[in-house]
């Protein structure tokens, strides 16, 4: 039994295709992602973006829900500190998410699975790099099983 499950895991790892959900603020990071497209940069297809008005709109609940539903990593991207379209939104996001990252650690989810970064509308390259980085990290960590809903199947 033990052996079997171990085997399963290794097989899993080989064809492991992580799923990453990215929350991007409308004014900077979403635009940065657009620019990545316009500049025909490349990042893996398992990154999926959700548009939010500002990074401060991201409720930690959304992140938990993504993990629960089978996401292996979550990215939250906003404007650079000081550049938030709503002037202070990303400061709040930063504080909340720092706290939230500790919570993730506490409940046993590797904090590398959550990436909070600042990507401006002009930083298409950074967007692609951040996405590739996260993917690589998550790939090393393997699938996220901790919070995954038992009913969930991909």
């Amino acid at each position: 039994m033990l052996l079997e499950s171990k085997e399963n895991l290794t097989i899993d790892k080989e064809e492991f295709k992580p799923l990453i959900v990215a929350f991007c603020c409308n004014w900077c990071s979403y635009a940065g992602a657009d620019l990545a497209g316009t500049s025909r940069l490349n990042y893996p297809a398992n990154i999926r973006i959700i548009k939010v008005p500002c990074s401060c709109r991201v409720n930690p609940n959304f992140v938990l829900r993504a993990f629960q539903n089978g996401a292996d990593g979550v990215v939250i991207a906003g404007c650079h500190p000081g550049d938030c379209h709503y002037s202070t939104g990303n400061y709040f996001a930063r504080r909340r998410l720092t706290l939230f990252t500790s919570l993730l650690n506490y409940i046993g989810i590797e904090s590398e699975r959550l990436k909070v970064d600042w990507i401006s509308a002009a930083e298409a390259n950074k967007f692609a790099t951040v996405m590739n980085d996260v993917l690589e990290k998550v790939h090393k960590l393997g699938p996220n099983r901790k919070l995954r809903d038992v009913r969930w199947k991909r």
Binding site: A45, C54, V58, N61, A66, H85, T88
Partner: protein, 661 residues
């Protein structure tokens, strides 16, 4: 049950080459609530939009998903099309399968799978969309221009000519800005003052323009169309209405120890002064820090000699609160502080000067009446060395990484002005590159070399070494590799331009952002160069980045026209995606009011009946006109009583679920 229509766009081959659009449409048809799913080559074309409109009518669609390019591109287009077909525009969602999918992925299977997931998320979201009706707000038909240099003057004149009232705030005692200090302008060499001062007078005489000199912005609140600005008018100690501008007070003032800001510190000014003779308004101010009367209580000579009785020592700062529909920021630039550039001996030897000081020295109205004299001994120099890019294009922390843009041209101008007046003076210019893009710019610079024989040396200067009454300039000729030593009499440094010291602070007051160099950021570097991310606030001139005069004037007129477009509207439409409080859940902790950057949330007391008793309860209330829809409050709210329309918790969770499907 919703009746959702999905339209998948090919965008020619932009999408269709990497995404199997037919497959996407087929899969979308299976999604819950979708009653129609189709694809078309160019959804944004007229035929595509017609397709959408007809389908809405024929299939009685109550929600629409367009899978196409970025919503930043065509969301408005499709929402308008839907509106024409009688659908509330906020029932349309875009799945971004071009920028976020077909353009960034190469594998067709993977891209198709992702496109389907993106459509699924959009369908899940749109199912929960609700009709939103934007509110309307009136517009205050008055503009504010911050900064009274050439950019501000031009903007104000244009807006005023269009028939709107304009207030100009200028920090210094006179409008005019940097251009007033300049002697001649490149590449035509016409006199700066001769083209600027008439405009300054026009601005002061214009019936629609109100000048607030010696004033600053203290506070800005409100939003596009309805800004409320508190202006602090500093105490001038001279009553503007009474002063005749005769200048006797200045003449008689015994305090003469303060360096003149306008003359770049080359000479001193009095404690009561006008920055320059053509100042507008031509009314002096008392510099209270330098004034003997304010320091010791004894003196008051100016008051005694003023026949107009305009001097008022008791005058206090006054606050003006005014409403504006539009704001143009035109605060200009400064030169960097050269303290960190010790190798050039600036500040150590008076004969090392900045280019702006040079402007004053060659200016006929300047301290030397236009004669080129060394500040140290008032003698004519024989050799002048110009050093370009002092702090510009400098990757070290002491300089600026950008090109200051104007230095190549003004250095050529300076060199030419010297040669014109004194052909016998030797002029050397050290440069990294000569950059002269602009109409007649390159011709101008070449003339300096070819006709006037200015010696251009490609290379850097390592050290300027004061030696007796000479300045030894050690440099390298980068082309030959030779070291060069010049014993100069005057060294002129083309110091880098920089954003105003208080730009960031002003930006914070206005809620507009500054870039890493503290220049204000435009809304889009190419397509919206004079707008900011805050609606109703525009940029003109060098506060947005280094600029020469023609560019500044062009941008000023552009900013003015943007402001005029705004002011000429009778009503503005609000963004309906604003926060909303569920009063039954709200616990009245008012945590949300603390984090709102727009002060859009206030508290109110509601009354309701519970078990036959009237109960009073404190809850928060969102002012929809002020709310900009960032959604920060929704996360702060502990009971979860606030939600954001258009990006509700349910909608985003539905998207998350759909993407993880």
């Amino acid at each position: 049950m919703a009746r959702i229509g999905v339209f998948v766009c090919w965008c020619g081959s932009n999408i269709a080459a990497t995404v199997d659009v037919k497959e996407v449409a087929k899969e979308a048809a299976k999604m819950s609530g979708v009653v129609l799913s189709t694809d078309y080559q160019y959804m944004c074309s007229e035929i595509g939009q017609n397709l959408l409109r007809n389908a809405i009518k024929k299939e009685k669609l109550d929600r629409v998903v367009v899978a196409a390019c970025s919503p930043r591109m065509h969301e408005v287009t499709f929402r308008k099309a839907a509106e024409l077909a009688g659908l509330n525009p906020y029932l349309v969602e875009i799945a971004n399968i071009r920028e976020h999918c077909s353009w960034v992925h190469k594998n067709k299977d993977e891209a198709t799978e992702k496109a389907i997931a993106l459509v699924r998320a959009a369908v899940a979201k749109v199912t929960l969309n609700q009709e939103l009706i934007p509110g309307e707000i009136g517009i205050e038909k008055r503009a504010l221009v911050i900064g009274g240099g050439i950019a501000g003057i031009q903007t104000a004149l244009d807006i005023a000519d269009a028939g709107y009232m304009v207030d100009v705030i200028e920090k210094t005692p006179s409008i005019g800005g940097k251009m007033a200090q300049i002697d001649k302008t490149f590449p035509t060499l016409d006199c700066s003052a001769c083209i600027l001062t008439p405009k300054m007078v026009d601005a002061s005489m214009h019936p629609n323009i109100n000048l607030h000199t010696y004033s600053e912005v203290e506070k800005v609140s409100g939003y596009v169309g309805n800004f409320e600005v508190t202006i602090n008018k500093k105490a001038r100690s001279v009553i503007i209405e009474k002063c005749s501008g005769c200048g006797v007070c200045i003449e008689k003032c015994p305090s003469r120890k303060t360096k003149s800001e306008f003359e770049e510190g080359l000479v001193n000014r009095k404690a009561i002064y006008t920055p320059f003779p053509q100042a507008v308004p031509n009314v002096p101010v008392i510099d209270r820090e330098a004034c003997i009367k304010f320091k010791t209580g004894k003196c008051g000579i100016c008051k005694k000699v003023c026949t107009a009785e305009a001097i008022d020592f008791e005058q206090e700062d006054t606050k003006i609160i005014q409403k504006y529909g539009a704001i143009v920021v035109s605060t200009g630039y400064d030169l960097i502080d050269l303290a960190k550039f010790g190798e050039y001996a600036y500040g150590e030897d008076p004969d090392v000067i900045t280019s702006l000081e040079f402007e004053r020295i060659t200016n006929a109205a300047g301290p030397t009446a236009g004669k080129l004299l060394r500040p140290s001994n008032n003698e004519k120099p024989e050799k002048v060395v110009f050093i370009q890019c002092v702090g510009s294009r400098d990757k070290t922390c002491r300089g600026k990484t950008y090109c200051s843009k104007i230095c190549c041209m003004y250095t050529a101008k300076h060199a030419m002005l010297i040669k014109e007046k004194y052909p016998d003076i030797e002029v050397h210019v050290f440069y990294i590159d000569v950059r002269t893009p602009g109409k007649n710019f390159d011709e101008f610079q070449r003339r300096a070399v070819e006709e006037y024989g200015v010696n251009y040396i490609k290379g850097m200067v390592g050290k300027v070494f004061p030696d007796g009454d000479k300045l030894r300039v050690y440099g390298v000729d980068a082309l030959s590799g030779d070291t060069i030593e010049i014993d100069a009499d005057l060294v002129v440094l083309a110091a880098a331009t920089k954003a105003k010291e208080d730009a960031e602070e002003l930006g914070r007051k206005l809620s507009i952002s500054t870039d890493t160099n503290n220049f204000f950021t435009e809304a889009h570097p190419k397509l919206r160069p004079v707008e900011t991310h805050s609606a109703g606030i525009y940029l003109a001139g060098a506060c947005q980045g280094p600029k020469d005069i023609p560019e500044t004037v062009a941008q000023a007129s552009a900013a003015a026209s943007k402001a005029i477009i705004l002011l000429s509207k009778s009503k503005l439409i609000n963004n309906p995606c604003v926060a909303k409080v569920d009063e039954t859940i709200c616990c009245g902790c008012l945590e949300c009011t603390n984090i709102c950057p727009y002060e859009a949330i206030a508290s109110t007391i509601i009354e309701y009946r519970d078990h036959g008793k009237m109960i009073k309860k404190l809850v928060s209330e969102v002012n929809e006109a002020l709310c900009q829809g960032c959604g920060g409050c929704t996360v702060t709210c502990r009971p979860g009583a606030i939600d954001l329309k258009g990006f509700s918790n349910k909608q985003i969770l539905a998207e998350v679920d759909a993407l993880c499907f």
